[in-house]
Amino acid sequence: MWKRDEAVKPTSGPGTSTGSAVQSQLGGSPSASQPEPRQHGREVVNIGKSVVIKGELSGSEDLTIEGQVEGKIELKENVLTIGPNGKIKAQVFAKALIVQGEVHGNISATEKVEIRDGGSVDGDIISPRVAIADGAHFRGSVDMQRKGAPQPAVQPRSASAAPAQAQTPAAQVAQPAAR
């Protein structure tokens, strides 16, 4: 499904029910004859511009969404790409998420989240790596959980009370201002 001619893979593993809950709502995508895209030798499933999905979407293949999805998306082992035309109102769980379109909802990614130029996210992000390009829109919170990483690298500064001039780049900082 999702514009694939080949037989649907058996849904044996966890999270392999791609589209089963929503298949009836596809509404006949006119772009169903598009060639199947591939990225870096991996098969990528594509949801076309005219497709509207309401419900839960899960799977075990990389997925590109150019249409609209409302509900929940789970691709915990795969890369999810929201194309420039994609509009998502959903909670998103993925290994990696690339946003070029619009996402309204909270995002959880185990690897990374990338909001590219023109991409828009309104929601909270939990991911160890987050990249936000210039020209991207973001409103929400970013929580870069650092599993097994040392505690925050903020160094306690015993010298924080040192006189300001001691580290002052003379060319720029004139003086500590009078209070």
């Binding site: 987050v130 936000i132 991207a136 409103r139 925050p152 903020v154 780049p169 900082v173």
Partner: protein, 223 residues
């Protein structure tokens, strides 16, 4: 041996577009020091979203970051011609619970507000800031120049001691600068812990909310 923070700084320098001047900052280092010792400090950023800042504060410092771009709010109210409603909007702008934020990055947002807006915004920031939390703000000390196209500034962290000022077009010019005592009064009961006047006519100020212990009034002495 290259330290982790050096690697991050090098990467940020490589990522920088380099389209704005880089200025030293004294107060950022102190701000970060103010967050030290907290397991995962929650940071509220009132400026426009900057990817490298998210990486810096998220990956290097280990903060949870909340981005609330107030310049967009200002622009919206200006273009809708409802600027007089902006102060009241600040009363409901921040959904955060009281005393939930460890650090606030105001950057230079106060330069673009009128008095009523400043007071309402400062009231909210004082509410959400945790006891012993820190607030960083920049204030221009120069009168705004007439006839200059309004610009806002993205403050991009280059490293702990340097910021890139990246200007971009805005709808509202900077307003008349505040006097030092006005800044102090605006944020009371927050205390000014650092105050630097740069040659760029910018005042960098670090505020700290008094810890709970210092705010509790002494009870009546027994006996």
């Amino acid at each position: 041996m290259v330290s982790l923070s050096d690697l991050f700084a090098r990467r940020r320098k490589e990522d920088r577009n380099g389209d704005g001047p880089v200025h030293p900052t004294k107060v950022l280092e102190r701000f970060l020091a103010g967050l030290a010792g907290r397991p995962q400090p929650v940071l509220l950023d009132l400026g426009p979203v900057v990817g490298t800042n998210v990486t810096f504060f998220g990956e290097e410092v280990g903060c949870k970051i909340l981005v609330e771009d107030l310049s967009k709010d200002i622009d919206r109210y200006v273009t809708e011609g409802k600027l007089e409603e902006l102060p009241a909007f600040f009363d409901t702008r921040f959904p955060q619970q009281s005393e939930a934020i460890d650090g606030i990055l105001c950057w230079d947002i106060f330069d673009y507000l009128d008095r009523a807006g400043m007071e309402r915004l400062a009231r909210q920031l004082k509410r959400v800031l945790r006891p012993d939390g820190v607030l960083l703000a920049f204030f221009s000390t120069a009168d705004p120049r007439a006839g200059v196209r309004p610009t806002y500034t993205k403050h991009v962290v280059v490293d702990r001691a340097h910021l890139e000022y990246r200007p971009y077009a805005g709808s509202r010019p900077k307003q008349r600068p505040l006097l030092n005592r006005d800044i102090q009064r605006l944020f009371e009961p927050l205390r000014i812990t650092e105050n630097f006047l740069l040659k760029t006519n910018l005042r960098e100020v670090l505020f700290r909310k008094p810890p709970l212990s210092s705010r509790v009034a002494p009870g009546p002495t027994a006996g």
